[in-house]
């Protein structure tokens, strides 16, 4: 085999890349977040999260992303269980559900929900023909939750599916042989063993939902600002990188907490891919 040292050299392009484009950029966010325009040290950028408008945006983002994470979990768990036990064409269903839709641009797909959910849109017309009341969901927090669930559901299904697929069927059978019924077996065996997948799934949905600005811009009709929208505006409109960086650092705290949470429960990294 190549000598160990030579092998380590093969990683050089990546070491360089990771330092230049992963580590240094994050350090720069912290640097900008902790300085003002003159370059002097300040906590003001981070403290501006206490500004009522910013606090409101953060609070709405946290609330909507928690709700969509819970909905994703309840939709995804049964789906993952069905798919694990599905024999025919399992992988093609997975691809069809999650990979193929990505080939239609995600902004367009989200926008298509606008067309579907509109007050005079397809869904309301359908509801009316079967005699059900209309739903006025467009440009409300409800529509944003809808978009979040739609966009991030795959991130919940895949890790749960992976952890369920790893469960040794003999363990489940043993529980059944020892007299446990279906519900007890699920509660005592299947659910605890799939917990790493569930935790990864929660992180994989919560982080992008918390930080999105696109979904709220398209489905919230620009009336509802999430913390992501505030940060995006600081960067692309007001060009106040220092304030934007400071607010991003607040977001990073949430992200780091989620990462630690995942690292504790999901040691094998089941949530990844």
């Amino acid at each position: 085999m190549l000598k160990n040292k030579q092998k380590l050299m093969l990683g050089l392009p990546y070491y360089f890349w990771a330092i230049a484009f992963i580590i240094i950029p994050l350090c720069l966010v912290i640097y900008y977040g902790l300085t003002d325009k003159t370059g002097a040290f300040t906590f003001n950028n981070i403290a501006s999260i206490a500004d009522p408008q910013h606090t409101k945006a953060l609070w709405i983002a946290v609330k909507l992303s928690i709700i969509s994470t819970i909905i994703c979990l309840f939709l995804a768990y049964p789906l993952a269980m069905i798919l694990v036990n599905f024999k025919k064409g399992k992988s093609s269903i997975l691809v069809m559900l999650f990979i193929l839709p990505m080939w239609m641009n995600f902004l367009l797909r989200t926008m298509a929900w606008q067309t579907l959910l509109e007050n005079t849109g397809v869904i309301n017309t359908l509801l009316q023909t079967i005699g059900l009341p209309k739903i006025n969901i467009i440009n409300t927090p409800g529509a944003i939750i809808f978009g979040m669930v739609y966009n991030f559901l795959p991130f919940m299904v895949l890790p749960i599916y992976n952890s369920l697929a790893k469960i040794d069927i003999n363990v489940v059978n043993a529980a059944r042989d020892l007299g446990a019924n279906g519900i007890i077996t699920f509660g005592r065996i299947t659910l605890p063993l799939s917990l790493p997948g569930v935790i990864s799934g929660i992180t994989m949905v919560f982080v992008p939902a918390l930080t999105t600005f696109v979904i709220s811009a398209i489905l919230g009709g620009n009336k509802i600002l999430l913390i992501g929208n505030v940060i995006e505006q600081e960067f692309s409109q007001t060009s106040n990188w220092h304030l934007g960086s400071g607010l991003s650092m607040v977001l990073m705290v949430f992200i780091i907490i989620s990462m630690i949470f995942t690292a504790i429960f999901d040691k094998d990294g089941e949530g990844l891919i």
């Binding site: 093969l10 966010v29 298509a112 990188w241 992200i255």
Partner: protein, 263 residues
């Protein structure tokens, strides 16, 4: 009882599929809508498919998207594969460290990755444009490559490589003839994953692009406010149907191979 359960399961999967595909069907329908408004149906037309090929701005954005996806996926695959060989030969601590670094772009919020790269380009004084988007895409693509090759590294059998050396092959030849084929499925899926992610990315491109350079995503985002050009629906439909047909063909030929093996 059993059949009732499996019917329910099928209905559930069907409902999820409808949920995932409702917007896609909507977009395909809109590409044939002769009215420019999304809200009403003005009759069937294929005119958008014709005018698409006269719309230079959309075609340029499409070209940029494909060029960035191809280049970034290829470069990320090369860097990622090499780094897997290196990381795999590290001691435990080094391995944990570099895998931790690799996880950062995967777990970090896209908006934070986007602005952090934007800040580094400002800091370095690089001109924003095609090049900065490419670097950003390579950065978020490398982890996908590494994470799809790494599981295969663990199963790699060093004896086959040593056997090739014993039989007189040079290290270079043995690597290409023995190690690489073993890793190939991982490398390939990493490449495809990277390519797909690059095509679908908006947020990171949004922060790292320069004025005048657009990918399909950023072009769509600016059009969302003014109203999307129906040609965009036509292009998306063409892309989607192409991939659908390709996947179908790959699946069919894949099944044929399996059958032959069984024979």
């Amino acid at each position: 009882m059993k059949t009732a359960g499996s019917v329910l399961k099928r209905i559930y999967i069907a409902l999820i599929i409808i949920f995932m595909y409702a917007p896609i069907v909507t977009l395909i329908v809109l590409s044939f809508n002769s009215s420019k408004s999304r809200a009403k149906w003005g009759g069937f037309t294929t005119k958008w498919y014709v005018s698409l090929f006269q719309n230079d701005a959309i075609l340029q954005a499409f070209f940029n998207t494909i060029a960035i996806a191809t280049l970034s996926a290829i470069i990320a695959t090369i860097i990622g594969t090499l780094s897997c060989l290196a990381i795999n030969s590290m001691k435990r601590k080094g391995k944990t460290f570099w895998m931790g670094i690799t996880n950062i772009p995967m777990l970090n919020a896209e908006i934070v990755t986007g602005i952090s790269l934007m800040l580094v380009f400002i800091f370095l004084g690089v001109k924003f444009g095609f090049f900065t988007i490419l670097i950003a895409h390579i950065t978020f693509n490398i982890p996908y490559v590494i994470l799809s090759i790494m599981p295969r590294m663990k199963n790699l059998n060093p004896s086959t490589y040593e056997a090739a050396l014993d039989l007189g092959a040079s290290p270079f030849v043995s690597f290409f003839k023995v190690v690489l084929p073993d890793l190939m499925p991982g490398i390939l899926s990493g490449f495809l994953m990277a390519f797909t992610m690059s095509i679908d990315d908006f947020v990171i491109t949004h922060f790292t692009k320069g004025p005048g350079v657009d990918t399909l995503s950023t072009k769509i985002y600016t059009e969302v406010k003014k109203g999307i050009k129906p040609e965009m629906y036509a292009l998306s439909t063409i892309i989607f149907i192409t991939i659908l047909v390709l996947l179908f063909l790959v699946n069919v030929s894949g099944n044929d191979n399996k059958k032959e093996k069984i024979k």
